[in-house]
């Protein structure tokens, strides 16, 4: 089927680019290994949990950095959590941004932290967008009667 072939190629090209551009690393492939016929939506489910968790954390971070007296330990705790969850799903650029963010927390550098928060939000929404596109492509392939290619 022509359309399935096209969609599959799109999927492979897109997945490959996400890896090359550092949006998703090897851990994302690890998650895909855990998906099978008995758990066909595993990756999507984990990623959804990541989205919910992340948006909460971003709000918490914004609040924590708006306080009269900023508690950098608390800020760091939130970033640590974000670093953990992004690492667990393979969101490499988000994770790297968290590493930089933690350095500013350690230095108690408020400006640095505020800048990092903006960059973190940017990276997060970028990867969220990419992942949603990936899942959409998968759905389209399946709806067109094809199977999703296995990467890596």
């Amino acid at each position: 089927m022509e359309i399935v072939g096209q969609l599959q190629k799109q999927f492979v090209d897109f997945s490959t680019s996400l890896n090359h551009e550092g949006f998703l690393d090897e851990q994302y492939l690890q998650l895909q290994k855990l998906q099978d016929e008995s758990n066909p939506d595993f990756v999507c489910e984990v990623v959804s949990l990541f989205f919910d968790d992340s948006e909460k954390l971003l709000n918490n971070l914004a609040t924590a950095l708006q306080q009269q007296v900023v508690d950098f330990k608390q800020v760091d705790a939130h970033v640590h959590q974000f670093k953990g969850s992004s690492s667990s799903i393979g969101a490499q650029r988000v994770k790297n941004m968290c590493v930089a963010f933690r350095n500013f927390c350690e230095e108690k550098n408020l400006d640095g932290c505020l800048r990092c928060l903006q960059q973190l939000k940017h990276e997060y929404f970028l990867v969220k967008n990419k992942l949603e596109t990936l899942f959409r492509l998968e759905r389209q392939i399946v709806e067109a009667g094809g199977t999703v290619p296995v990467i890596g």
Binding site: E26, V46, L49, F50, A77, G84, S85
Partner: protein, 221 residues
């Protein structure tokens, strides 16, 4: 590095149909979901809790409960816990478990995103069986299960072969072990993953690294 409990642990899993029951502790919902799936896919039964306190409650060790009774006799074969958790850390949980006469024989594995040698040493000294650096991979869990519960003991052999991609028995790491980092030497089958990048050190060689010796020794019992 392995404590006395090692051989008695193997003896306990003498029923070939026994499913290994793992208590997983992690405050992160994302990580809990992943570790639960990793364990289930390696044929383990899993109970996942979000704190050290809840883990102790599950075991029946919680001091705040007046009449602590272990829930329903569900025997736990392994505890795998995150290190950094609010309230009770994984290290504190480890100490509580090793300090209990009832539960100190249960192997405890620590997971952490920070590969800090002093932290690893501290945990191993306190009796942790192993230390896994996050993010946890399928190969980590397979290795753990293989080392702790032996080849073919308490496992569905065919399922293990499918997942590991090797025929059983085999003391070498499975083909599925995909530590892609090129500057890391292949880990010896049962040494903690975080040690694999260090030159081989005496502390990392344990009775665990020889499955044949393990079987020979266990036949004495």
């Amino acid at each position: 590095m392995a404590k006395n409990g090692f051989f008695s642990r193997l003896r306990r899993v003498d029923d070939l149909s026994h499913e290994v029951h793992v208590l997983a502790v992690d405050d992160s919902l994302v990580d809990r979901k992943v570790i639960e799936r990793l364990l289930k896919i390696t044929s383990c039964k899993v109970t996942a809790v979000d704190s050290g306190r809840r883990a102790l409650q599950f075991l029946g060790l919680d001091e705040t409960e007046k009449n602590s009774v272990a829930l329903d006799g569900l025997k736990v074969d392994l505890i795998i816990t995150d290190y950094c958790m609010p309230g009770m850390t994984g290290y504190e949980l480890l100490k509580k478990i090793k300090g209990s006469s009832t539960f100190r024989e249960i192997p405890v594995v620590i997971m952490s995103s920070e590969n800090v040698l002093t932290r690893i040493d501290r945990c191993l000294e306190e009796g942790a069986e192993d230390f896994i650096v996050k993010p946890v991979k399928l190969s980590d869990v397979k290795r753990l299960k293989r080392c702790m519960f032996g080849e073919g003991l308490g496992l569905n052999k065919r399922k293990l072969e499918e997942h590991c991609g090797v025929a059983i028995p085999s003391p070498t790491p499975s083909l599925d072990d995909d530590n892609v980092s090129s500057n890391r030497s292949p880990p010896s089958p049962c040494s903690p993953r975080s040690f694999s990048s260090l030159p081989s050190s005496p502390t990392s060689s344990t009775p665990l690294d020889s499955p044949t010796r393990r079987f020979e020794a266990s036949s004495e019992s």
